[in-house]
Symmetry: C2
Subunit: 432 residues, 2 copies
């Protein structure tokens, strides 16, 4: 049995490894356009800031590791240029070749949405671009960052740590999928280090001599460098060519086994839809942790071990300086967009015992009026453990009273005896 | 309606506050033997180490706050000396008085198990003793700590931070309710700072001049001070007098509404049993977080708002120097003692992304052979968030595959893309 895996990122390599572990006799070929496999674009901001020294560190394993240890046929710099049922054509180091497959996995990932044709506008997506971004940033005095989602926040954090003058332009508010209670706290903190322009949409980026001009409806900003992080779109051209159906999001529609509508063709990772565990509807959640697990599940199914992927919660975490931010499930505005009769509470509470003070955090909890929790957002100190707990409870379909009664550990330097999650739940219980 | 609350610790004050909030017309009297209410004995090690400066900081609120803000009649230095149905007798500042009650809550807490009659042996329980412990410790050169549960670990941490020469004697291994895989890692770390004597039982403590001699079967240890933290026993004398039934643990038996067998008599906190969520059997879990919630629930029920307490997981967390340790649910030995057909896995994994290394942690996951998780223990870096997640999943009766599929947030400086909990679950899934 011959397996073609198109795309050697997290999902693709996770699938390939799983297949070879379960069924070593399967012939697995991975076709990766770039020079790296199992690359982690989420690490790029930490490479730009200098925390990560070598770009190779951003790969979980090398191609040789997969070839030698896992007996996977990895093709680097190998772009799949054409596809039909049972056969694909790829170009590897200038030479065109074909590979016949019985099973195929699309793990083609996602690409940044472009805002300009200028080559001086950089996108935080391919680890191959990372050294260039760092080098240009080092020489730049003033940098405009367009888009303030998670990646935007981390890039601004990195650039301001390097002492750069940064303007960040976001058409909504920083972390636009969060509710304003959270975004505004982040905005306050970011404004101490960078010029933050909220509710401003970039219309054009022009090169003027050595400089770039970023034009919004309201203003013009001159910069030595522009970094754009306004979002990504799924890479689905090959899938479409094969007759694979897309979902409403534009990503590949999958069933719980991560099968597409085409027999023996699977999809996993950033190019594919999955189920949103909270809404129980198809959703496109291009994040690294679900991508890895989707690869694992798709690989299991290809190798003949049936396994369902339950979906994802879109759990996320980041930080700006000492401010941690996290979210799992839906924000209130997302909940309302999905038609939920949502109620919410926002509390600010000590992150640790009163007698060992170490900052506070703000928690917003969103629930259906019947009591089921739809999402939790948090910002401040000690956010990670609360988002870990919240994601776990949401995963199990928890109600507000579960957030109150869950027996979280108490340890004075790390948590108060009434955990902020419990405090939020206690307050929200009154509305149910 | 007149309510008597015997004991003004976490559970008692939580109940009193809840009653007055729900039903301000109820007359609530709290009888507290010591000079403090809502005291937090868990904070004592941090007072000994000097992190907490004033002993008053170890109280969530003052008696005056409860009197003035919450209209609760707080009696300090007021010991209840006799009790009968509908009436109790107490001694307040030398004067004997009576109070007639319609509802009564036992929140009498627990007391340390004594190992000697010597006044030079200190127990880490009453915050009134804390200043004495700190003062004597400061003057002492060599201190023997008996018992190495959570409190013992924290006391040894505090004393070694003060530069004291410490011997710690534990009849099993450090953190005796943990499995050996965890205890031995802690033992290694503690041994760098203190002399740790495992599997040694203290037989006697004698005063010899200014010194103390701690005698075990194997050895004798001379010390300037002895601190004992071998455990606590529930304070149930008054409850017995009233005909209240105790459970097998010796603590007060309660139903899910925290009622005792005697009508209108409730029990909450360290003197009472609750349900162990994992075993679904009665258990005695004398910890601060459940105590507070038990008080809340007992208070609700007394005030006429029916509410069930679901029980607790015995979730705990502590640290020794930079080593964090946590546990929720059952260890493997506890699981076997309860008759479960337990399987387990122990893994060591990076706490953060490979490219932003920040230590590792060891996770032990224990499950029933049918897949239900019974408990998680962890030691190392980044333990808190994993125990938060594990407690949340255990609370919802999760299976090993839930631990694999739960969508935990990925953020390179805080967590790897395959979280250690997920890695442990992936490995344990193979045995199911």
């Amino acid at each position: 049995m011959k397996v073609a895996i198109v795309g050697g990122g997290a999902a693709g390599m996770s699938a390939a490894s799983r297949i070879k572990r379960l069924n070593p006799k399967m012939d697995v070929h991975v076709f990766e356009k770039s020079n790296f496999v199992s690359h982690a674009p989420c690490g790029i901001p930490f490479f730009v800031s200098g925390i990560v020294r070598d770009v190779e560190e951003l790969c979980a394993y090398t191609a040789d590791f997969f070839r030698e240890e896992r007996k996977i046929n990895v093709h680097l710099n190998a772009e799949v240029v054409d596809i039909e049922y049972g056969k694909l054509e790829y170009v590897e180091r200038g030479k065109s070749r074909t590979y016949e497959w019985d099973y195929l996995l699309f793990s083609t990932g996602a690409s940044p949405i472009k805002i300009s044709s200028s080559k001086k506008v950089y996108y935080v997506r391919s680890i191959e671009d990372a050294p260039k971004i760092r080098a240009v940033a080092e020489k730049s005095e003033k940098i405009v960052v367009v888009g303030c989602g998670y990646i935007g926040v981390e890039v601004v954090d990195a650039l301001t740590n390097l002492g750069k003058k940064v303007v960040v332009i976001e058409k909504e508010y920083p972390l636009p999928d969060h509710d304003l209670e959270i975004s505004k706290l982040l905005l306050n903190e970011m404004s101490k280090y960078a010029e933050v322009k909220s509710e401003e949409a970039v219309e054009e980026v022009r090169e003027v001599g050595e400089k770039l001009i970023v034009e919004t409806r309201e203003n013009e900003y001159e910069a030595d460098m522009v970094i754009s992080a306004i979002g990504v779109k799924p890479n689905v051209e090959l899938a479409k060519k094969l007759g694979v159906k897309l979902g409403e999001s534009g990503a590949i529609r999958t069933d719980p086994f991560l099968r597409t509508n085409v027999e023996n063709v699977y999809a996993a990772g950033d190019c594919a839809e999955t189920t949103n565990i909270v809404t129980q509807k198809p959703d496109w959640i291009p994040l690294a942790a679900p991508a890895n697990k989707m690869g694992f599940v798709a690989g299991s199914n290809i190798a003949g071990k049936r396994m369902k992927f339950p979906g994802a919660l879109k759990s996320q975490m980041t930080s700006f300086k000492d401010l941690e931010i996290g979210k799992t499930g839906l924000s209130e505005k997302e909940a309302k967009k999905h038609g939920f009769d949502a109620i919410s509470v926002t509390i600010t509470s000590r992150a640790t015992a009163k007698y060992i003070p170490n900052g506070e955090l703000t928690v917003k909890m969103v629930a259906e009026r019947n009591g089921r929790v739809l999402g939790v957002q948090a910002i401040g100190k000690g956010v990670a453990k609360r988002i870990y707990a919240a994601a776990s409870l949401l995963y199990k379909n928890a109600k507000v009273e579960d957030f109150f009664f869950v027996d979280l550990p108490f340890y004075p330097p790390k948590s108060p005896v009434w955990d902020p999650l419990v405090v939020a739940a206690r307050k929200l219980m009154k509305s149910i």
